[in-house]
């Protein structure tokens, strides 16, 4: 397959070159070939660069000694001026030359090399990401330390959070249960972890009020973690006797089968309050509309942006994106966790200033801030 491809390509190239030749173009279109190790990569690759003009094809040839047999490994357009040769062995000397098929003959360029590929220790094009990561870590650690030392950090009230206590209270008054749905992704998803920490707060309340709570699960890992979380909350609230294993159940792994089971549960058991907090996909509205139709108070929270419109229209309160994470820190009322919200606010401000500055500088014709933010 590969060889036949090469044959076809070569034929095409010869024809193309013949055409170019007949139009009177001559001379070697690419000069000053350089071969260097590809920077910032895992090795096995060498970058070739040359000065070239025109749209002619040049063949790229490689050998392991300067006088050895050169084999064609690929082609490029002369004016592109670069080519990356991959799948090489590290610590081996390679020599390159360009060839230009002109009519019957093939013109050969000068030999470049030796070059060795090697595996590198840093992706230099990710410096900006490194700065951002370091900044985030440093700010979180420093604010958390400040908070530990007793410094008061102001975080505004997040609407929807006071609604959590109200909603638990209402279920207690009505003598009905609370349904807590921790989303449908596994523990690898950070929203699920945020949801579990909100679940801990909610189940502490239900333990104190003696309200019934049920947590149906889609993911088996979340199921076992949620059971531990609820158990822990009942212990901390001083009501370990009230905790029942049936409070946290496993349903099924399929998104829509899960939605079917949960909606059926809603209709049959008529919970007074539904929490839909975590990661949701298409089932969001199936759950939220059914909950709405049975008249339950619904509190939703997700960072899955496509589902936000549905929660906003069908639930009483919705924690939007970042609010979900902030809520889980806020509810614990631990100053340490509040410190990390502060840190994310500072980074947010830095981003806004950077972007703002970038816009102004761009208006004066410089692309520098955009270049600094460029990454891959």
């Amino acid at each position: 397959m590969r060889t036949s491809c090469l044959v076809i390509i070569s034929i095409v190239l010869v024809l193309a070159a013949g055409g170019a030749w007949s139009q009177g173009m001559s001379g070697f279109p690419a000069t000053e070939l350089r071969a260097v190790d590809t920077p910032s990569d895992g090795g096995g690759s060498i970058d070739l660069e040359w000065e070239g003009e025109g749209l002619q094809f040049v063949l790229i040839m490689r050998a392991t000694s300067p006088g050895g047999e050169f084999e064609t490994i690929g082609d490029a357009i002369a004016s592109d001026g670069s080519y990356t040769d991959m799948r090489l062995d590290d610590q081996t000397d390679y020599y390159y030359r360009l060839a230009y098929p002109a009519g019957e003959d093939t013109l050969l360029g000068a030999v470049a090399g030796p070059a060795q590929s090697k595996t590198n220790w840093f992706r230099s094009y990710r410096k900006n990401a490194l700065v951002l990561t370091a900044l985030m870590f440093i700010l979180v650690i420093s604010y958390v330390t400040q908070a530990r030392k007793g410094k008061r950090l102001f975080i505004r009230r997040i609407s929807g959070l006071s609604a959590i206590d109200e909603a638990v209270g209402r279920a207690t008054e009505m003598g009905r249960k609370i349904l807590y749905i921790p989303g449908i992704l596994s523990l690898s998803e950070i929203q699920t972890i945020a949801s579990l920490s909100i679940l801990q707060h909610v189940s502490k309340l239900t333990a104190v009020y003696g309200t019934d709570i049920e947590v149906p699960n889609k993911d088996p890992l979340v199921f076992s973690a949620a059971r531990e979380t609820v158990k822990q909350a009942y212990m901390e609230a001083g009501r370990p006797d009230q905790f029942k294993e049936e409070m946290v159940t496993y349903l099924t792994y399929d998104q829509f089968a899960y939605a079917a089971s949960v909606t059926a549960k809603m209709v049959r058991e008529r919970p007074a309050t539904n929490f839909l907090i975590g990661s949701f996909f298409a089932e969001s509205l199936i759950l939220a509309e059914t909950g709405q139709s049975i008249g339950a108070i619904q509190i939703a929270g997700t960072a899955d942006i496509p589902q936000l419109p549905f929660f906003v229209t069908a639930c009483d309160y919705t924690l939007l994106g970042e609010e979900l994470y902030a809520a889980s820190a806020y509810l614990s009322k631990e100053p340490v966790l509040l410190g990390s919200i502060k840190a994310q606010d500072v980074v947010k401000a830095i981003i806004m200033v950077t972007v703002g500055a970038g816009i102004v500088i761009l208006a004066f014709g410089s692309n520098i801030v955009r270049d600094v933010l460029f990454t891959r």
């Binding site: 990401a129 951002l132 102001f154 505004r156 609010e323 502060k342």
Partner: protein
Amino acid sequence: MAPFGIPIGVWINAFLTICILSFLYKDNPFFRFAESLFAGMSLGYYIGIVTENTLKPNLFRPMINDFWGNHNFLLVIPMILGVMLYFRYIRKIAWLARIALAVYIGYYVGVYLMQKLHGDILFQARDTIVPLTMGGIEAVWNVVIIVGVFSVLVYFYFSAEHKGALGRVSRVGIWFLMISFGASFGYTIMARISLLMGRFSFLVNTWVRPMISG
């Protein structure tokens, strides 16, 4: 088996479709049947594909075929971690289950952290730096984008009470959010209807029509 010349699979398919649709009227035994069957079969399905596509090719086969070659013996590590998850049910060593969980969560938290900081923040921030000097209507639209991004970010600013100027900007942010939610909602409606039409088209064209036309 093909009653009325229609394959039995189509009958089952149609029956289950109607069972689920009947839930719209109210909860009933047919829906409950379909729902229970769905829960059971979908879980069974997942057991099947995890065994066939993950456990067999990535764990069992390499270990059985060539235990010492190709570093396959290292596969013992995930196996032990997997088994550790069950220690939760043995009181004395229950805490060991946390080790498996810690490795699992820790790894993904790290992976996703870089993805958020790199893939989301850098790309999106860079793209918000838009030119304003080209004149014409495009410049105005770019102002709209800048105002939108900034006001939404201000709405998510937790360190200060949203009063005064900050309150007004965050109010603009709410407007942008609502327009976006509305637009998403409107964008979706027709696609949702088309899903339903997919089901109806099956019922009408694959099930009922051949029955009538014989």
